[in-house]
């Protein structure tokens, strides 16, 4: 058994005395070392005991008869080391294995229990959390003591002490997070009635409402609803309480301000034929650059390809002088008629010298969201692809205007569709993804990429099989539909040839594991079978609506087709669809 290289005391909180002997027996048998078994019905006070009396720098606390991994030392080293690297040694308070991730507000669960046996994927790094389940908590005792963090004596119970602890941590500027290093097995059933009883009691409600204005806290076990006052609305000057999630945002963002700035290069492939739209994109980059100065460096590479030789030089000169405040490079653009888009990409990459930076491909008629840029440093990591949301706008442009004369938001590409790309069609627009430069360069070294259109899909498929994916439902780009979009071309021949070229190479080079392909194929045929059934029923029973997923990708933002079918069929279809997609997501990439 590996012992942790950092000094960490191990604790078990139990309510049933009979567990004590079993836990001590495990400790001997599996070499965990000395374990402090603390019995009580008030875990708040037990937690305070640990904070006050733990002899070590860290404390690992688990409840009841949770099963720890035999290589616990590795897990603890991984979790503490990861948090130190991600937030800074003095910036974190507690790490758990199950909670609600701050950025996405999605539940993360790194444990096997009676309700979930699915194998989770790695969290890659500790993810800041707004809620932690108390089954396993790794406390940074030094930081908690240094900042005088303790739980209030007025609180009692066994389910919400972790939430109270992270609230206290955030108040003092410490981050709390979820990390897959702390994976365990939990054999006990969750006690929902007791959980409800604890949060609906006056003590917990009073405790939260003293500091925070929120009426709901999202947890892995359902929302904690609190009856809170609304004085902050009627007289915000007097009611100085905080928004819990706003406080977390501030604390988390602050941990990244002091870190080295990350560099993101926006690569825009352009034929310089849509200058007004390009001005709009550069305007959005300028606005973003103005507000991200202390956190992120934004650069631009204009990958000019197949531009009109008559106007090329003059247009480039105009761009460079109008946006002299931006760091813009122009890639050398000897024209390539067969693979201009891939060619332009490669050319642009050659101008990005820093392989530890990031690249964001944004088409010249699209734009970026400045508000999002400030949050990017927290998500970008050299071993992950970042995926955000993109809004779709139907626009009308007029000659001489550098903004659309009409613009209407008609939809959104959602980040949580990323796993559906395995079904053979692209669901994520290129401007929704930010890649580590090193990853893209490696792909272009290894792959021929002899095609043109759908190159973004191919790139994503390959990259997603070699990297973690961080998908955050945050609007990062706007996509313009103005009638002259390449993707709307009616003749699909060029698209099909490119698609075939890319997928053929991906198949040949075994990019996607064979079992994943098989899994996707089986799910795909199940969907097709179900769709056939729906079609049959819809002819007979036109009473209720159901949303049918698209099996192909006919138009980029077409709303799902609605058909009329029976209600029971609709319910079973939705259940099926939910479970099918959940499985695919978890097996391949994880949440």
């Amino acid at each position: 058994m590996m012992q942790p290289t950092r000094s960490c005391s191990l604790y078990r909180f139990i309510r049933d005395e009979n567990l004590r002997s079993k836990i001590l027996e495990w400790s001997d048998k599996y070499g965990f070392g000395p374990i402090n078994v603390l019995k009580g019905h008030n875990f708040y006070s037990l937690l305070n005991d640990v904070i006050d009396n733990c002899p070590d720098e860290y404390a690992l606390i688990s409840c009841n008869d949770l099963i720890w991994p035999m290589g616990l030392g590795f897990a603890l080293d991984g979790a503490t080391g990861g948090a130190d690297r991600e937030f800074g040694p003095e910036k974190w308070g507690v790490i758990g294995n199950c909670g609600i991730e701050y950025f996405s507000q999605k539940p993360l669960r790194y444990l096997r229990n009676v309700s979930s046996t699915v194998i989770p994927c790695s969290s890659a790094k500790p993810r800041p959390a707004t809620f932690l389940d108390p089954n396993t908590l790794l406390l940074n005792i030094s930081n908690l003591r240094r900042l005088g963090i303790r739980l209030p004596a007025s609180l009692q119970g066994v389910h919400l002490h972790a939430l109270a602890l992270i609230m206290e941590c955030y108040k003092k500027g410490l981050v709390s997070a979820v990390d897959s290093h702390l994976y365990v097995m939990d054999l006990a059933e969750f006690d929902h009635p007791q959980f409800r009883k604890e949060y609906s009691g006056a003590e917990f409600g009073n405790y939260v409402s003293q500091s925070f204005i929120n009426k709901t806290i999202k947890t892995n076990h359902g929302p904690v609803n609190l009856s809170n006052t609304i004085d902050y609305l009627t007289d915000p000057r007097k009611d100085k309480r905080l928004d819990y999630y706003g406080l977390i945002d501030k604390v988390v963002q602050n941990t990244y301000i002091e870190r080295p700035k990350k560099i993101v290069t926006v690569v825009t492939r352009t034929m310089l034929g849509r200058m007004n739209q390009l001005f709009r994109l550069l305007d959005s980059i300028r606005i973003a650059a103005l507000c991200c100065g202390d956190r992120l460096v934004l650069k631009v590479v204009l990958a000019v390809n197949n531009a009109d030789p008559q106007t090329r030089e003059a247009n480039i000169e105009t761009l460079l002088s109008k946006y002299a405040d931006l760091d813009i490079s122009v890639s050398d653009s000897a024209n390539d008629k067969q693979y201009p888009r891939v060619y332009a990409m490669k050319n642009a990459l050659s101008l990005i010298r820093d392989d530890s930076s990031f690249v964001w491909f944004v088409d010249d008629d699209d734009f970026i969201y400045p508000e999002a840029i400030q949050h990017l440093p927290a998500f970008l990591s050299d071993d992950s692809i970042f995926i955000g949301d993109s809004a779709i706008f139907e626009e009308k442009w007029e000659e001489g205007k550098t903004f659309p004369v009409k613009s209407k938001r008609v939809g959104t590409y959602k980040t949580d569709q990323y796993h559906e790309c395995i079904m053979g069609d692209n669901k994520i627009p290129v401007c929704s993804i930010i890649y580590p430069v090193a990853v893209i360069k490696q792909i272009f070294e290894k792959f021929r990429f002899l095609g043109d259109y759908t190159e973004d899909y191919a790139l994503y498929l390959v990259a997603s099989c070699s990297c973690e994916i961080v998908s955050i439902p945050m609007l990062i780009a706007g996509i313009s539909f103005h009638g002259a979009n390449t993707i709307l071309e009616k003749d699909r021949t060029h698209w099909h040839h490119s698609y075939t070229a890319f997928i053929s190479e991906i198949v040949e080079k075994k990019v996607i594991p064979s079992w994943v392909c098989r899994f996707a194929r089986e799910k795909s045929s199940e969907i097709a079978r179900l769709q056939a059934q729906i079609k049959e029923i819809s002819n007979r029973q036109p009473h209720a609506a159901v949303i049918i997923p698209e099996t192909s990708h006919p138009q980029p933002y077409q709303m799902p087709q609605k058909r009329w079918i029976g209600r029971r069929m609709e319910q079973s279809f939705r259940r099926f669809r939910k479970s099918a997609w959940r499985n695919i997501r978890v097996f391949i990439f994880g949440d």
């Binding site: 929120n214 609305l233 915000p236 606005i287 734009f367 205007k401 209407k408």
Partner: protein, 293 residues
């Protein structure tokens, strides 16, 4: 070419970062405007908010304060009295980035139309779905996030109604413009980038100031223009919303406080004006003052 344009922006320390990083650079880069005087109204009334340079390019920056906390309308009325802008002034949110021709287009519109009282800029990327007439730009109300105001109109109508404190005072001012024979114009070519707002959806774990003050001011606005009949309708519409009972009761209670302080003035809309301005001054649902485009 416009000579000097006064710009009013009410701020606290929460918003001053955006003023520095977005608003001031975008004002500096305005084309066909000689000088801009940016008046930062410290609505907290405490200390100083802005510690940057007094001049950035063509923009001179001055912080003013009433030395007491004040709402949106009160802050701008104070600035108007103190600065006394000659012909017109711009009211703008701190988190707006003006397109380089924004102010020029606003000036051009207000100068070419002598009855224009309010000229609002078009917000992008999330264009307001509010109706407007293509040929004249006439719109029922102008959003206060970036609106050009004719000084004579503002003076004649005694500016913003300070009872609103925040939210809906722009609708009130617009309706009073129509009633006083001024036009409210949506200027399609004046673009203001405003990346925040309703399109970044509010979370449901808390309420927001906008939700509460829009509820309270919705009743007040309807009472002010339609009298007790309007109050009754507004209360009924508010009660039909998803907000919890304590929220609704608090909004109604807050309105009653204002009502009890009001003099016994008649409703602003009489039978004739109801007919004349039916297409401009209208309520189509809870907090809905326009037809969606």
């Amino acid at each position: 070419m416009a000579e000097v344009v006064d710009v009013f922006c009410s701020v606290s320390s929460k918003e001053i970062g955006k003023v520095r990083s977005w608003l001031i650079p975008s004002l500096r880069d305005q084309r066909q405007v000689s000088r801009i005087s940016l008046h930062l109204i410290n609505y907290t009334g405490v200390g100083r908010i802005y510690d940057g340079p007094d001049r950035v390019g063509k923009v001179t920056i001055r912080e003013i304060s009433k030395d007491t906390p004040c709402g949106f309308g009160e802050a701008h009325n104070f600035a108007f009295e103190k600065v006394a802008p000659a012909d017109y002034f711009l009211v703008i949110n701190p988190d707006v980035y003006c397109h380089e021709d924004c102010i020029f287009e606003l000036v051009r519109t207000v100068e070419s139309n002598r009855s224009a009282g309010l000229v609002e800029a078009r917000q992008l990327p999330f264009e307001h779905p509010k109706e407007y007439e293509e040929s004249t730009g006439h719109t029922p109300w102008a959003s206060g996030s970036c609106v050009f105001v004719r000084s004579s109109f503002f003076r004649a109508t005694r500016g913003f109604d300070e009872n609103f404190w925040m939210y809906c005072e722009d609708v009130d001012l617009s309706w009073r413009a129509w009633l006083n024979k001024y036009e409210v114009i949506h200027c399609r070519d004046a673009v203001a980038y405003h990346f925040t707002g309703a399109h970044y959806q509010y979370r449901d774990d808390r309420f927001y100031l906008e939700q509460f003050w829009c509820a309270r001011n919705f009743i007040y606005l309807m009472y002010k223009f339609w009298g007790p009949e309007g109050e009754k309708k507004a209360t009924r519409l508010l009660k039909g919303t998803w907000y919890p009972e304590d929220f609704k009761s608090e909004a109604i209670r807050s309105f009653q406080q204002i009502k009890s302080k009001m003099a016994d003035e008649p409703a602003l809309l009489n039978l004739t004006s109801r007919m004349v301005y039916a297409n401009k001054i209208k309520v189509l649902g809870y907090n809905v003052y326009h037809v969606e485009r």
